[in-house]
């Protein structure tokens, strides 16, 4: 096992404070996920990839940006794995890396209109860049 990947895994487990080994792959989180159809990889797969240290794949997952942090997966997980925390931690790990920002301030004007609430912009900055 690649040492760097073990460090990444340790960082993510520090963030989630949850053991991915508790997952029994029942798929309830993924079945609950309202963003299912836009995701390339789904919450139960993200949990599994963290457990197996598959950071080469996690580095390229696009579905992370479609997670709305709605907490449906965490609420419905029968094993209290908190998959939403894994989605968020992997996203954090990605945006914390150099050049990992997914949103740049210059892009904001084209994404908003007259009615866009500040809440949307503040939330997007928290979720898409460091």
């Amino acid at each position: 096992m690649n040492d760097t990947y073990l460090e990444y895994q340790a960082e993510i487990l520090r963030m989630t404070d949850r053991d991915p080994k508790r997952c029994m792959i029942c798929g309830k989180c993924t079945a609950s996920c309202p963003a299912f159809s836009e995701m390339d990889f789904h919450p139960h797969q993200i949990v599994g990839m963290v457990e197996r240290c598959e950071f080469d794949v996690l580095e390229t997952v696009e579905g992370l940006w479609h997670c709305m942090s709605c907490m449906a997966c965490s609420e419905r997980c029968p094993r209290d794995v908190q998959p939403a925390r894994f989605m968020d931690a992997v996203r954090q790990w990605r945006i914390r890396k150099q050049g990992g920002e997914h949103l740049h301030p210059q892009q904001v004007p084209e994404k908003i209109d007259e009615a866009t609430p500040q809440q949307a912009i503040a939330a997007a900055f928290r979720k898409y860049r460091k």
Binding site: T16, M68, M71, A115, R126
Partner: protein
């Protein structure tokens, strides 16, 4: 009854209607809401990663201020409520967050989650009471078939939010009954509206909203009501098939403080 009141940034700008109607209704119901002079934006989303402390500090300041005043802290925006309530629990139960936050802030007195955080709906239900509200209604919303749109942030995680049953909530339906309206229950009232993903992929947010509105209409909703400015935005701008208002606008109409449109 006097409460500390945290409006949050959106209620000072795009969601002024939510703030204004809530204040006027609270006054009419005998609850005084006092806004601190110097609150800061809560950050809009609760930082889930355990190692993030700095993004929680503005919430801790607001919580500590309410403690210093000896008052309960009332929130109104569903997002602020989610952040303040969960951060408060971290300050009470998570030693690492508590120590680090107190070290950063150097408050006159260390803060450990002593404040009670109440959403405005809880203020109505648990401090004022549905019967007292019913007694003050002069213009009941008779015959209006309204669907409660809860979204995510008021209810989840249920273990932390403790407002209502996350899958079968009743608080907004009870509110609607108290003001004389006819609540309509539909399956998707607690499914996500797309939230901030409208900034990333508007088509995805539109798909979420379309499913919610179709379900609400099929169940007989003629209008929807919400406590969240971002839900309102998504339901209106990425949907539009049903009228959507803040629940405090309905309350203001029922109390005769504002004419129904």
């Amino acid at each position: 009854m006097t409460f500390r009141y945290y409006p949050g940034c959106t209620l000072k700008t795009k969601a002024r209607k939510l703030d204004e109607t809530a204040r006027r209704c609270a006054a009419a119901l005998g609850a005084e809401l006092v806004e601190p002079a110097d609150w800061q934006c809560c950050g809009a989303v609760y930082p889930m990663a355990k190692d993030e402390i700095a993004p929680k500090l503005s919430a801790v300041r607001a919580l500590a201020d309410a403690k210093a005043q000896g008052q309960e802290l009332v929130t109104l925006c569903a997002a602020c409520h989610n952040v303040l309530k969960r951060t408060n629990l971290d300050m009470a139960n998570d030693e690492h967050t508590r120590d680090a936050a107190n070290r950063y802030l150097q408050l006159p007195e260390a803060y450990s989650g002593e404040t009670t955080v109440l959403h405005y709906l809880e203020l109505l239900r648990d401090r004022i009471g549905w019967d007292a509200i019913r007694a003050k209604v002069t213009h009941p919303l008779t015959g209006r078939k309204i669907g409660a749109y809860y979204g995510c942030l008021l209810l989840r995680p249920a273990r932390e939010m403790q407002m209502d049953d996350a899958e079968n909530p009743t608080i907004i339906e009870d509110f609607l009954r108290a003001i004389g309206a006819e609540p309509v229950v539909y399956a998707m009232r607690n499914e996500c509206c797309g939230a901030y993903v409208t900034m990333e992929d508007r088509a995805a947010a539109k798909a979420r909203v379309e499913a919610i509105l179709q379900n609400a209409q099929a169940c007989g909703c003629e209008e929807l009501t919400t406590a969240c400015p971002l839900c309102l935005y998504n339901l209106r701008e990425n949907g539009g098939a049903l009228k959507v208002t803040y629940f405090t606008e309905l309350l203001a109409q029922a109390l005769g403080l504002e004419a129904a449109e």
